[in-house]
């Protein structure tokens, strides 16, 4: 008590002012802090708790400990959804990354109409996934779709796309690449524009050719953006849902089922809310791990200009 008095020799009005200052601050924070606590933090604990019960959302939950987690690893449909999600990421991320990088490099040059071109490549990013998923279902319609019609005119019999278990996931990957390309392009363009022009000019004066300049100057200096893009693509990849729901519904026969769709199906169709929550927690752990890699990696191997 005496120590506190000694360190804070403030007068009564000063203390009242300080109290008012703090109270005002909390008032400014409350309109966002309360909803975040109620609708993000609180349900997060709910998800963790639910994952330990067997529960159909209606009757009384039955404690099963870690049983739901064990079941995840033996349930073939869940394992398949997980495998498909990984395949989706393996199919989409490199495609979008390499395409986006090439576009960013090309559209960073002084080309007439490059703003228009950038605008066009970015267009799909702003659209609703449900709308464009239905559009892609139409384009890739096996019997009357324009893609197979065009293929037929050059003598190729197009595949069954989203109606064929072999082609359902590739159909989704194709549509996703189209939609995400502009997103990666814009992020990498921003990175390219942050590289000082003098560095590249210096490399040019040193006689480095275009390939050498790209490999030894541009790409290393672009690495923070590249790193960020890869991390974001991975996180978004594990959360894939809308396009799967609208393009294939996870089918045919589970051939394009993914983690989030599986969570949805388990909880709201099969009354397996506990297992769905366990799968949610697993998804959260993956997202968290990728985010931690980002935080660590940013400090470590990335070269800053």
């Amino acid at each position: 008590m005496t120590a506190r008095l000694a360190s804070a020799p403030a007068s009564a009005p000063a203390r009242a002012r300080r109290r008012r200052h703090i109270a005002t601050a909390y008032l400014f924070l409350a309109p966002s802090a309360i909803p975040l606590a109620a609708f993000v933090l609180y349900p997060m604990f709910g998800a963790a708790r639910n994952s330990l019960f067997q529960w159909n959302l209606i009757s009384d939950p039955v404690w099963v400990g870690l049983g739901n987690y064990g079941e995840l690893f033996t349930d073939s449909a869940t394992l398949r959804a997980f495998g498909n999600t990984v395949l989706y990421i393996v199919g989409t991320v490199p495609l979008v990354f390499i395409g986006g990088l090439m576009l960013a490099l090309a559209l960073n040059r002084a080309i007439k109409g490059r703003n228009l071109l950038r605008g066009i490549y970015f267009l799909p990013v702003i659209t609703s996934w449900i709308a464009v998923a239905i559009v892609w279902r139409w384009l890739l319609n096996p019997s009357v779709g324009v893609v197979n019609n065009v293929l037929a005119t050059i003598g190729i019999e197009g595949p069954g796309w989203w109606t064929d278990p072999q082609w359902s996931l590739p159909s989704i990957i194709l549509a996703s690449a189209w939609k995400d390309l502009g997103f990666v392009m814009v992020l990498l363009l921003a990175g390219l524009q942050a590289i000082p022009q003098e560095i590249r000019e210096a490399a040019m004066l040193d006689g480095a050719n275009a390939w050498r300049r790209l490999r030894s100057v541009t790409l290393p200096l672009l690495s923070p953006s590249i790193f960020f893009v890869v991390i974001i693509s991975l996180i978004n990849g594990f959360q894939v849902f809308d396009q799967v729901y609208a393009m294939t519904g996870g089918g045919p026969a589970g051939s394009s089922d993914v983690v989030v769709l599986r969570i949805y199906t388990l909880a709201f169709r099969y009354g397996e809310a506990g297992m769905a929550s366990a799968l949610s927690m697993l998804l959260f752990a993956i997202v968290l791990a990728i985010t931690l890699i980002q935080i660590k990696g940013e400090k470590r191997w990335v070269t800053y200009a």
């Binding site: 349900p43 267009l123 996934w129 959360q239 969570i263």
Partner: protein
């Protein structure tokens, strides 16, 4: 020199070809929506022979689609307003006040950005059910009241406003609220616009949560209505494409008129 010109020409040609491929799905959507009976009795062609608005009449005349458009507009406007307001207030609180627990609270705000909605759907559903908010607009609005990303973005914007402005206003007798509304907010307009566009787009395009909460026909948002339209009119491609056109058009308009903010809004967070 000549070979350089050649590669340059080749590059531009490739870029234009690619751009055409990007645009084609949109063009084809529009054309199909104007081809009555597309996929059944008619095949769309690049230059529609007999364009008609039949599909749009079917869409708005025989389904609840018009209502879905209104629902989406209303929800997007309300949610955007709430998110901008609550985020700006908290951003000001974090940028200009000193209070116990400030660092911890900011860290918790940031941490909530790491929790995707996909992880929360089950507990949030039961929470909303217990509050009686399934099939209620509030079930969508309440969980979207606040955005940690918005707080983060706007706090950075406020940090660039010199504190001397606040102090000068204080000497002139202005209170905290006056300083916030008349000095800080006008100076961070670009950041507010970016975040507003981001909020509007996320709300307009969001699907998973409205799908779970708004199940009754007249309450559905546009993406949810589109998805169920697909279930009911699976082979009426002209009608489905008309629905897609209606869903894409407002975003396209926003993009044309506020391109800078849309690009920043869509990429700023890196989250969709």
């Amino acid at each position: 020199m000549r070979s350089r010109l050649l590669t340059r020409g080749l590059l531009v040609a490739l870029l234009i070809l690619g751009a055409l491929a990007m645009v084609f799905p949109f063009v084809w959507t529009l054309i199909t929506s104007l081809t009555s009976g597309a996929g059944l009795s008619a095949t769309p062609s690049l230059i529609p022979e007999d364009p008609s608005l039949d599909a749009y009449f079917t869409l708005f005349g025989t389904t609840n689609f018009g209502r879905a458009v209104l629902n989406s507009v209303g929800l997007a406007v309300i949610i955007t307003f709430l998110q901008v307001a609550t985020s700006a207030l908290a951003a000001y609180g974090f940028a200009r006040f000193d209070f116990p627990g400030k660092r911890v609270m900011f860290a918790v705000y940031l941490a909530t950005m790491m929790i995707p909605i996909q992880v929360l759907i089950v507990p949030l559903f039961t929470q909303m059910r217990d509050m009686g908010l399934i099939n209620s607009y509030w079930g969508v609005i309440l969980p979207s009241t606040a955005s940690a990303f918005g707080v983060f973005l706007l706090r950075q914007a406020i940090a660039t406003v010199p504190r001397e402005f606040d102090e000068a206003a204080t000497i002139d007798g202005a209170g905290r609220v006056r300083i916030f509304t008349t000095i800080v907010l006008p100076l961070i307009k670009p950041a507010l616009a970016t975040f507003a566009v981001f909020g509007f787009m996320s709300s307009w395009n969001s699907f998973l949560w409205p799908l779970i909460v708004l199940r009754a026909d007249g309450l559905k948002t546009l993406p949810v209505a589109l998805a169920s339209l697909q279930g009911q009119h699976a082979t009426q491609w002209d009608v489905l494409m008309a629905g897609s056109v209606i869903s894409i058009l407002p975003m396209l308009a926003l993009y044309v008129f506020a391109q800078k903010y849309v690009v920043q809004g869509a990429t700023g967070s890196g989250l969709k």
